[in-house]
Amino acid sequence: MSEQMIRVGIASFAHLHAMSYAHAVNQLEGATLTGIWDEDPERGQKYAAQFNTTFYSDLDSLLDAIDTVIVASANVDHKPLVLAAAAKKVPVLCEKPLATTPADAREMIEACAKAGVQLGTAFPVRYSDAVRKLRDAVQSGALGQTLMIRGTNRGTYPGGWFGQREKSGGGAVMDHTVHVADIVGWIWECDFAEVYAEAATRFHDTEVDDCGMLLATLANGVTLSLDPSWSRPNQSFPTWGDVTLEVTGTDGVASIDVFNQNNELFNNQTVRAQWQNWGDNLDYLMIKDWVEAIRDGKPAPISGEDGLRAVLLVEAAYRSVESHQPEKVG
């Protein structure tokens, strides 16, 4: 079983991360990119050629040919694709957010559980060495009792379907709440209890929120502030964005800046300064871990339930955006 080549398929390249996942599979010894399906056949064929693999015009044919599928479609399309994988008993790693509603996420979790296949949520930030060392420090009590956490996952506006509610399910709050929600939930092993949120469209011509601010309470009483805004200016900012946490505990403060390992490049032709990241390839580490779990028949390293926890916070945040009061999560 340990020598087996794991056959991986990718369902949809609507999400840009699919490129990174395809690269990762191609780099991994012990995994092969068997094929790509895409609701957009032209796009699917283009990427199949680019990544040296087969384009499947029929999703079920791809599912029949592989050991695991990675779903990288637009947010609202996660559910039908995951349900299709479950129906074919194919373990599935799904882009974040797992779903655009808690009900959809629960349906996906149940379908995969019934089919007896792993459902994973793609949260690559868990593979950051800084996140892991912070988790060790917090869980070993180095900060004492945690009091308040400042979190950010700011970014540039991705455009395309991200700005179309019928495909994305929401804007910056939908897109960028979940990474921080997941690492906080993982480090403190805790769900969210309540959240107050603002959201607005302040930067771009789009129907969805392109900025927001959350002030959440974990079930253990800890306060989390979370900035998910697409606030980085697209043409001029030196990088795509960030993931940061600053944790204040009774015994001290710890802060992480996950994507801070950069060489700074100024180039007269490009004009915009560029931060060239030399840190770990977190997508590669995540895909490697996923393939190992599939090969060894182990549970998903990051589960559907983990994905649901983050979606629950997003759902409550959007309720608070409407009510202008804190809302209970779940």
Partner: protein, 330 residues
């Protein structure tokens, strides 16, 4: 591949721990006439034999390769002995204490038909490797002025050899040589150098040097190395070219920081483990070396590269001593 460690001091223990985590490599013995307690402890942890003499270690037929991690002035004799015993050698930087020793080492390994790797690990630090690739790609155009600094506190240890210039070559041969190797790798051969430093200032437990380089390409370099800071470890580089500028420093690329209150009794709280990368550079370097020893491709630094860096470092020391610039024949 079975390794014997010649030396059980700081760097030897780093390499032994790294080897222990590389599949297909193991540490079977340590030899150090002054076995420090930490070395003994590690040897016991790894299940490695504890020997007192390198001769004893080199006589063992069950050892395929050795790591030489001993004071600089002892590199030559030990590497020559290891070569004559038919063992591949990983030798810590600098290659040797004198050019004559370095040349002799290269001749002996060639004669013996064994491989000699030199531990110029900065080529494996991702910010430096990324900068090398960035320059090669033309991101800054034609390089014009390069600045590079490295250093921190004086490595004072009881019975330490770093402060003995005859043995260590001081901060230039021990610290600056990291930059010199990276500079030659990235910008090519050096034509001329002028340097000043604290070598002859008669200050115990302090050393520092500044060198101005002229590359054959016409670019200008400024290199600084210090053992005169109170604490900490600082590295930086800046590459200015006709089309752009690339820079990085280790003070603003950290990913995890702690600030802890003291213990109730006033004693400082120990800092938890820091974060860096999933695969740190000493591991990546040693993986390359093990792969080479087993018949794979060469690592990033060759023994000849080690000799070039050594020649430049010794010229800098000479310039500091004589007050004269030194030119190299082409």
């Amino acid at each position: 591949m079975r390794f014997g460690m010649i030396g059980a001091g700081g760097m030897a223990r780093v390499h032994a721990s790294v080897l222990n985590n590389i599949p297909g490599a193991e540490v079977v013995a340590f030899a150090d006439p002054q076995m420090p307690p930490a070395g003994r402890e590690l040897a016991q942890q790894l299940g490695a034999d504890i020997l007192t003499s390198p001769e004893e270690l080199l006589a063992r037929s069950d050892i395929d390769a050795v790591v030489v991690a001993v004071p600089t002035d002892l590199h030559c004799d030990l590497v020559v002995q290891a070569a004559r015993a038919g063992k591949h050698v990983m030798c810590e930087k600098p290659l040797a204490r004198t050019v004559e020793q370095g040349e002799r080492m290269l001749q002996e390994v060639e004669k013996a038909g064994v491989k000699l790797a030199v531990g110029h690990v900065v080529r494996y630090f991702p910010e430096y490797a990324a900068a090398n690739a960035s320059v090669a790609r033309g991101d800054v155009g034609v390089p014009g002025v390069i600045r590079a600094t490295r250093g921190g506190a004086f490595p004072a240890r009881p019975g330490g050899w770093f402060g003995d210039f005859a043995r260590s070559g001081g901060v230039v041969l021990d610290v600056m040589i990291h930059e010199l190797d990276w500079l030659i790798w990235t910008f090519g051969a050096v034509e001329r150098v002028y340097a000043r430093g604290l070598l002859n200032a008669g200050l115990p437990n302090k050393d520092m040097a500044m060198a101005v380089l002229r590359f054959r390409s016409g670019a200008i370099g400024y290199v600084e190395a210090t053992w005169a800071r109170p604490s900490g470890f600082y590295t930086s580089f800046e590459i200015a070219g006709s089309g752009g500028l690339l820079r990085s420093n280790n003070q603003n690329t950290g990913t995890l920081q702690f600030s802890l209150f003291p213990n109730p009794d006033g004693t400082p709280r120990p800092a938890p483990r820091g974060a860096y990368l999933h695969d740190e550079p000493y591991t990546v370097q040693m993986r390359d070396i093990v792969r080479w020893f087993k018949g794979g491709p060469e690592p990033r630094t060759s023994a000849a590269d080690g000799l070039e860096a050594l020649k430049l470092a010794l010229a800098i020391i000479e310039s500091i001593g004589t007050g004269k610039a030194i030119s190299f024949a082409s």
